[in-house]
């Protein structure tokens, strides 16, 4: 029998700086979240189109190959990805993307800031995406 919470929706961390990406991912895993890491927008898009279905994307803006703005544009054009909430984590918060993302966090962002933002996002998610009050983002099937 499939458990109600059989599959956990991961958080997708898109950050080109390996040191930062890894420590953010480690911090979130310690808090109980599953985390998928992507080293730039192109890597993230491959993962998203390859079946990773995150509850939330934490997205850097300035990256090589495909930057955060380009990834966001690709996601919004793809009906399968358009509904995934995005939180920008950037040193240079843009004004023009405010309406397209759930929130923007300015680097250096702390773990508690990230956790608060994730929790706020989860509380606003449709139930079919978040499965309630967070059980570390377990998804209902």
């Amino acid at each position: 029998m499939t458990s109600t919470f059989a599959r956990r929706a991961p958080l997708l961390v898109v950050e080109d700086d390996r040191d930062l990406r890894e420590v953010i991912a480690d911090s979130l895993r310690i808090e109980g979240y599953d985390v998928v890491e992507a080293e730039d927008g192109a890597d993230a898009l491959v993962r998203l189109r390859g079946g990773v279905c995150p509850a939330l994307v934490l997205l850097d803006l300035i990256m090589p190959h495909m930057d955060g703005r380009q990834l966001l544009s690709e996601m919004r054009r793809d009906s399968a990805l358009a509904g995934i909430p995005v939180v920008l984590v950037t040193g240079t918060p843009p004004q023009d993307l405010r309406g397209e993302v759930f929130a923007t966090l300015k680097k250096p962002v702390g773990v508690d800031d990230l956790l608060r933002c994730i929790q706020a996002c989860v509380e606003r998610m449709p139930r079919e995406r978040s499965t309630g009050a967070d059980p570390r983002l377990a998804q209902q099937r």
Partner: protein, 58 residues
């Protein structure tokens, strides 16, 4: 140039902050603590280089 420096500097600051917070939140294996401490030191050194380059470029 300045935008890029700001981005790089803030990224290094973020590495330092998040590793520091993580070290304060959980008890880690000694080897992991040393590795993270080394990353903090390296990020601080790179941040100093960024600041030097920025100030020197003025």
């Amino acid at each position: 140039m300045i935008r890029s420096l700001t981005h790089d500097a803030r990224t290094r600051l973020n590495v330092i902050r998040t590793h520091g917070e993580l070290l304060g939140r959980v008890a880690l294996e000694e080897e992991d603590v040393r590795r993270r401490a080394a990353l903090i030191v390296e990020s601080a050194r790179r941040l100093a280089d960024i600041i030097d380059a920025h100030v020197g470029g003025r």
